[in-house]
Amino acid sequence: MSAVLAERGGSLALSGIVKRYDAAPVVRGIGFTLRAGRVTALLGHNGAGKSTVLKILGGAERPTGGTILLDGAPVGFATPREAEAHGIAVVWQELRIIENLTLVRNFFLNREITRAGLVDRAAMRAHVVRALAAHGLDADPDAPAGDLSPGDRQMLEIIIALDKGSRFLLLDEPTSALNASEITRLLETVRRLAAAGTCVVIVTHKLGEALAVADHVVVMKDGDIALDAERGELSEADLAYYITGHRREATPLAEAAPRSAFGGDTMLDIRDLSAGNCLDASLEIHAGRVVGLYGVAGAGQVDLLEALFGVRKLRGGRITLNGTPYIPSTPRAALARGFGFLTDDRKRNGFIPDMTISKNIVLASIRRFARGPWFDADACDIQAKAMASRLAIRSPLTMHVRRLSGGNQQKVIFAKWVTAKSRILLLAEPTKGVDIGAKAEIHGLIRELAASGDTLLVCSSEIEEILEIADVVHVFRHGVCAGQGIPRAEAEAKSLLALSL
């Protein structure tokens, strides 16, 4: 069967690909084959080598050794343009849409249709209108691309790639910034493209998605191929096994002694709070609990956290913290009352990229790490070491945080708030873009902090995550807190999803 497919639309094969940057190879002589009309899911930990493979296929990196075979003939790409010329396009996680240019200008960037040396706007616009309609993207071709939702931007990039005649479409974590309905649309598009003969590769951390959409699964681990198989009967547990190298324990957290959803004192009493997209939210938060705030992106739950930390203006409402009124004015004030905030965009505002792990960890409590005016580097190192062993940060502490994997960056941010003795942690998408090993560690840490008496408000757009860690769930829909205080024992994926849409 695969021979027939190969005849119809071609194949792209890697053979003996090696890539080394310094001494240590990040890709160790791997090979697999991509075929037209099929969807391949490329899975693995951060650092397993899958991004490097994607870069090699897309012409952004050259392999140190090995060959790439396109329809059986060896090829080499020095630049992404050359790869594109061979029909291979990568849609990177960081999209390349230029926000202040219109859809039409983005669409024809660097390949404008010209007539007599001038840009032929009418022809370009007509072409874009046809292309958008063909793929069911309802958008104004003359609007700036920045006005599109993340999902629509992604779709636009995919349409542009196809318009360039790409037969091989490589998607780098395409669903990480999308909401549930956008994810569904994207996965449908992927299936449709495959049915029409395109080869699609999807790099993802979400195993459910991979199984839902792929015909073929490749798992990378430490630069090698750990699994190269038809999807067949594979389960999520199987994939997790190949990715991490060990069976996931029977979710000890979910099995742990049931904790009452309320219990403990009311620590934080929020009444009629409005800020950003969040409208008149009233929540009662009990000490020592993990409170899940579920909703699709933009439903107001993250705005609530931002308001509590003093980075988003309150339009109304009252907050009582431990019996006394709390007015969140600035992050400094929030810190002083025991709040810590892990934002949903760590690269933009989670840490100081060119500062060491140690200093990032003590930054929010630097006064405690100073003797008079002097910065106490020894105390800082001792604290950082303690945090590193508690949170399993496995990188030298003098390393700049920029160079860490997403999971380790996230742990450094946790360490910062734990060091600051924050008793109420506001976590926005705490496992966004981290690999599944780190994700399990972060979930464990959240439970551990709650067990030690801290209170955690966790926003997540992943139902599974909410169900795994939360004691009690609040569901947000269009800014309104639609489901109030559902204890975990009563929470079900279906009902949460229904409440959120």
Partner: protein, 344 residues
């Protein structure tokens, strides 16, 4: 179905991700090598460049630009830029001259007046940049005009002579007959600034603000305080530079620090590895950068190079130094990979 497997190993060990621990050269090594090369080159060309007298002259000529490089470092580190430091020199020099000639405060009052004039301009820069949220390029361009005009208005463009020998010794005197007092002051200020930025909690916060302003804010750093302090320190040190220059010239010179020297402080700091985007670099590097530019100027004088050529040579050296520094930081390698996949 092709199924290949590798035996699962224990969870990700540090071995793959952790870099080998190795002795790391200080980041100022690059600029130090450049300085050594330039000095060696001058010695080869002239045969008598590295003499005590010549080095002493060179350092004396570097005092102003060295202090400006140090002052500029504070502002560059938080991601700002201070265009006013040159004009502040004129303002503080004239302020010192006026105080010494027209008040009974004498040389201590004159020194204080010069420094305070600089601090005031710096404070205004910081407060406006922070609270009005104007880019520092604009704020300091405006105060550059203000600080350059006041001395001209006050003096009607005539230098004010200073006859106080104690004051003038700041710029002309020597310790132990060979070490210029001004050079000592410059080194002392640079050393203090270096320690403040590298060893205090304030310093850590400065790097944090420059490295990622929003993250620092969310970590509770008081941005207003850091912004205003950095600009004020920049102005204060520029004021010091103005006082020492006035002492050297034995006059308050209303046009000091104008013209091409406007950017010397910024150029020195950047040549010395201080990032224009904030968050990285050091005072030691900035000072070495200033000495590089000072050495070049001095060397070209000794070689009797036509003065029309001198800015050209300095411009080329700045480009080379910055390129080399970028290459060292690995950006260059990434760039080469992007544009051609060349092996570097």
């Amino acid at each position: 179905m092709a199924r290949t497997e590798t035996t699962p190993t224990p969870p990700a060990t540090p071995s793959a991700a952790a870099p080998r621990k190795s002795f790391r050269l200080p980041p100022e090594t690059g600029i130090f090598i450049i300085l050594a090369l330039i000095m060696g080159g001058m010695e080869l060309l002239t045969g008598n460049f590295l003499t005590v007298g010549n080095i002493s002259t060179l350092l004396v000529n570097t005092i102003t630009i060295g202090l400006l490089a140090v002052s500029e470092t504070f502002v560059l580190l938080i991601g700002g830029i201070d265009l006013s430091v040159g004009a502040v020199q004129a303002l503080s020099g004239v302020a010192a001259a006026v105080v010494i000639n027209h008040t009974p405060l004498g040389w201590p009052g004159a020194i204080l007046a010069g420094i305070l004039a600089g601090a005031a301009i710096g404070f205004i820069n910081g407060a406006i940049t922070h609270y009005v949220n104007v880019p520092s390029f604009i704020t300091t361009f405006a105060t550059l005009g203000v600080a350059a005009s006041i001395p001209l208005i006050v003096t009607q463009a005539n230098p004010i002579p200073i006859f106080d020998n104690t004051f003038n010794a700041l710029g002309q005197g020597y310790v132990l007959k060979i070490i210029p007092i001004g050079v000592l002051i410059m080194l002392l200020i640079a050393a203090i600034a270096h320690v403040v930025l590298s060893r205090t909690a304030f310093g850590v916060k400065v790097y944090a603000v420059g490295g990622n302003r929003h993250s620092a804010y969310l970590a509770g750093v008081n941005l207003a305080r850091i912004d205003i302090l950095c600009f004020t320190l920049s102005g204060t040190i520029a004021g010091f530079a103005g006082v020492i220059l006035a002492a050297r010239l034995a006059s308050g010179y209303p046009t000091a620090g104008s013209g091409a020297s406007l950017f010397d402080g910024i150029a020195s700091a950047v040549v010395g590895g201080v990032s224009l985007f904030g968050g990285s670099g050091s005072v030691a590097g900035a000072l070495l950068g200033a000495i590089v530019i000072g050495t070049l100027t001095e060397g070209m004088d000794v070689l009797d190079l036509n003065t029309y050529w001198q800015p050209l040579v300095i411009g080329v050296v700045i480009l080379l130094a910055v390129t080399l520094d970028t290459w060292k930081s690995g950006l260059f390698r990434t760039l080469m990979r992007r544009i051609g996949g060349a092996k570097v």
